[in-house]
Structure formats: structure tokens, C-alpha cells
């Protein structure tokens, strides 16, 4: 069930994981910032990127750091031999404690250096309104 709320008042009464919760107006979300909201009593970071809106959980898989206090960035990727270039700008979230980097869309660690993943939830945009449900995409067992 999608709970309708006034445009400026994120809320929901449905507590099932699949329930959609209105969390923000798209226009109120600055690009590449983590907008911390409460969804069914949990801290969730809503992130607007160039390719859409994403929702992440608030725990780093390394030592449980609060990812909503992290920052959205890019990362260095290999190019030519012995050369790295900055890429994926705005598509990576960096842990506030140890600067580990995770892909915003999957929660996976950049380069696979941390096992596990940042929880990723379902975020959708309709009519300029952003909704989040606590359903978890299941891309498979982390390696």
C-alpha cells in the first residue's frame, strides 16, 4: 500500500517491508547529497544522482559506521597501465569512518575490498514524489 501524505510531510502508516513510504519531493533533493529519512523506524539515506534516486541503509558492512553521514563521490578506476582516473562521479558513497567506497546502486564495495554490502532499498519516483520501500534487491551472495 502506498500511503499518501501531504507533499511536505513524509510519513506512512503501513509497516510492511514492501510498503512504499513517501520520503521527499524530488525537487527538494540536491544532487549527490545524502538525505537522511526515517522509514518504518529505520534510518535510510536517499540519494539523488544523475541516473535517478537511490536508497541506502545506514550501516557500513565493514564496522557498522553510519553511512548516512558519508559522502557521495566517485572513485579512481584503472585506465592505462599504472594509471588511474577519476570516474563514477556521484555514483559512489564513501564511509565516514574508514573511507571505504560502495556503489550506490548495488551497495557493493568498490573493488570488492569489503565483504558484504551496504543495504540497498527500493526507491521510486512518481509525479515528482520520492517513495521508498524496505524491500531488498537480492543480487546474490557477496564474495
Amino acid at each position: 500500500m502506498t500511503t499518501e501524505a501531504s507533499p511536505s510531510t513524509p510519513s506512512s502508516a503501513d509497516t510492511s517491508a514492501a510498503a512504499e513510504h513517501f520520503v521527499a519531493l524530488l525537487a527538494d533533493l540536491p544532487l549527490h547529497r545524502i538525505h537522511r529519512v526515517q522509514v518504518d523506524g529505520r534510518d535510510v539515506g536517499i540519494i539523488r544522482t544523475a541516473d535517478g534516486v537511490h536508497a541506502i541503509g545506514n550501516r557500513c558492512p565493514h564496522q557498522g559506521a553510519p553511512m548516512c553521514l558519508g559522502r557521495v563521490t566517485g572513485t579512481m578506476v584503472a585506465s592505462a597501465a599504472d594509471e588511474y582516473v577519476y570516474d563514477h562521479d556521484g555514483l559512489v558513497v564513501q564511509c565516514p569512518w574508514h573511507a571505504y567506497e560502495f556503489h550506490i546502486d548495488t551497495g557493493r564495495s568498490v573493488g570488492g575490498v569489503v565483504r558484504g554490502r551496504v543495504p540497498v532499498f527500493t526507491a521510486t519516483v512518481r509525479d515528482g514524489r520520492v517513495y521508498c520501500s524496505l524491500t531488498r534487491p537480492t543480487p546474490g551472495r557477496p564474495r
Binding site: 557500513c60 558492512p61 565483504r115 558484504g116 554490502r117 537480492t138 551472495r141 557477496p142
Partner: protein, 79 residues
């Protein structure tokens, strides 16, 4: 003691499975859950009922709770 896994918070780091394998298992979905009395994975992380922890595994479960980066292992009070 009974325990359950709050799956929305699970990071899939699998420390629980590593230190208390008879109680926890990481599913192919990348989310952890508890095992039932037959050792089979329970749906929804064990749900509100959770799984009973044998005394011999209680210490390992406490270690898993302390290590879990997601903080998603919940103990359930038993009467």
C-alpha cells in the same frame, strides 16, 4: 535464548555464519537468517518467532551479535 535476523538491516558480511554456523546461514540472496531445529534456513530471517539457541551455541551467538556490522541480530525474550 531465541534469535532472529532483521533482514532489512543485514549487510551480508557473514560474520554470524562464520562464528556461529550452526545457528546462522547466509542465503544465496546475500541476506542472513537463522536455522530451525532441523538446521534448515528459516524464512524472513526467522521472523518474530526466531530460532532457539542451544546452550552450547549461546556464547558464539553473543560473539556474532557483537561482530555483526549491521547490528541486525535480535534476541527475543523467552518467558
Amino acid at each position: 535464548m531465541r534469535v532472529t535476523v532483521d533482514q532489512p538491516e543485514c549487510t551480508g558480511a557473514a560474520y554470524c555464519e562464520e562464528v556461529a554456523g550452526p545457528v546462522f546461514v547466509l542465503l544465496d540472496s546475500g541476506l542472513a537468517t537463522v536455522r530451525d531445529a532441523a538446521g534448515e534456513p528459516m524464512p524472513d530471517g526467522g521472523g518474530p518467532e526466531g530460532a532457539a539457541v542451544a546452550d552450547e551455541h549461546a556464547s558464539a551467538v553473543k560473539d556474532a551479535i557483537g561482530m555483526c556490522p549491521g547490528g541486525c541480530i535480535r534476541t527475543i525474550a523467552t518467558p
